[in-house]
């Protein structure tokens, strides 16, 4: 604790990030540039999320980190330990007990409540980047609300596959204005983005962008009248807890093509198992 400033970052950096967060909240879905710092982990490991978390954490917070829904993967464990050491915050794996949740690529299954903050790690914040590589151009497209190219991309999906095949990082429109990349969450989670009670903050470290969704913001997944948006998941029950409403990971369990489906949200699955729910693969 004494070796570092509270929550690792120096105060001037935190002020800069905090100012960006406030502008992000005032302009939902707009990507605010910020002076991203080198963090003691490589870009791509959640440096954007870590910097946002460092700027919002207080000593009285309870912190949870999930990586693809799991509390126990390397990325989640190391970031949780990082803030345990540098900010002295309490940590938890229970979604409802956490006040700040940093996430990579999932939204918890359990609905979040007011007073919670969800911090996303974002690799590529610009939804138009793979369609137009020049930042100067994408910035102009956002300023002119010129999002036709994104609809062309979704249309090409339909012409090639018969349906919109984009299954993660599915683009959304925020409050009828900015098209936003919700980070690579499965499109199953897109339905939870809008009207959420918690504050959602997005940090992209390498790309140096912060954006935000205030609570109860209108978020609409882009689609077509004849091809409406569909939040899809594997059509199975969780093998461990039997849940039919949670997003599932597919696991290969032997060399003979055997597989099972389990909840990607470990806390949700464990809580259900503790409550006596049992799937077909549970021991």
């Amino acid at each position: 604790m004494t070796e570092y400033n509270f929550a690792y970052l120096d105060e001037q950096t935190k002020r800069m990030i905090r100012r960006a967060i406030l502008k992000g909240l005032a302009i939902p879905g707009y990507q605010v540039p910020f002076a991203s710092r080198e963090m003691p982990m490589p870009y791509g490991w959640g440096t954007g999320g870590v910097q946002v978390s460092a700027a919002v954490l207080t000593p009285s917070d309870t912190f949870k980190v999930i990586d693809q829904g799991a509390d126990d993967t390397t990325n989640a464990v190391s970031i949780r330990t990082f803030f345990q050491r540098t900010a002295g915050v309490a940590t938890t794996t229970a979604t409802s007990d956490a006040t700040v949740i940093q996430t990579r690529h999932r939204i918890p299954e359990e609905p979040l409540h007011e007073g919670q903050i969800l911090v996303y790690q974002v690799p590529i914040p610009e939804p138009l980047r793979f369609l137009e590589p020049r930042e100067s151009e994408t910035r102009k497209m956002h300023s002119l609300e010129e999002y036709g190219l994104m609809h062309v991309k979704l249309y090409e999906d339909i012409s090639r596959h018969g349906h919109i095949a984009t299954s993660y990082a599915y683009p959304v429109k925020v409050e009828g204005r900015y098209v936003m990349d919700p980070s690579p969450i499965p499109k199953f989670d897109n339905a939870k983005l809008g009207d959420m009670a918690a504050i959602q903050l997005f940090g992209a470290g390498r790309e140096q962008r912060i954006y935000a969704l205030p609570p109860y913001t209108q978020v609409v997944s882009l689609d077509f009248e004849d091809h409406p948006f569909e939040a899809s998941k594997a059509d199975h029950l969780c093998g461990m807890c039997g849940a039919n409403d949670s997003y599932l990971d597919e696991l290969i369990i032997d060399d003979l093509g055997g597989r099972m489906f389990v909840c990607s949200d470990t806390d949700y699955c464990e809580a259900r198992q503790a409550a006596g729910h049992k799937g077909k693969d549970a021991a």
């Binding site: 105060e11 001037q12 406030l22 707009y30 919002v56 954490l57 009285s60 205030p214 609570p215 913001t217």
Partner: protein, 199 residues
Amino acid sequence: MQANTLSGGFADPATQSAHAFRSVMEAMARPGTIQDIHGAAPPAPLSPAMGAVLLTLCDTETPVYLAGDMDCDAARAWLAFHTGAPFVGPAQCMFAVGKWDALTPLEVYPIGTSEYPDRSATLIVECSELASGATLTGPGIKETATLSLPELEAFQANRTLFPLGLDFIFTCGGRLAALPRSAEVSRSSSQARAQAGAS
């Protein structure tokens, strides 16, 4: 130099500014909610809430405009010592500090550009009260919220600039509320009745 220039800052800047920021962020994310904010004891005419907001958000990179009565030696010296923020006119500021009458008209403040709408001023307005009042809708508000505002027209005009525009933090003693540019402001039904009765 006054003795109170050197005092009144955060005793424990890292944790006190973290708590203060959470108050400001909650206020900005949930327009109409009134938050407590602690830790600063600036000299008059700066209020404790205003002082805490400035300590939390301002430093040498943020030009500050002091409007009207706020532009006095005591406030300048305190802010210069504790934040190092440069003092500028309204057209160059990132933060403007003052009472509503001194801050208006709003046309002079930077509202951002269409490519960088975040490059806009935040106005920190000291109010005589924070209570319910005008009806607010928009991001951060479940159905409707309510907040006492110094007037309506200026905020309605500001909303039409979206995504450009100004953001507001209202302070009163040790409390604050906020109004981002995204909020729609209208007369509350009780205010409308009062005006109908008066005319």
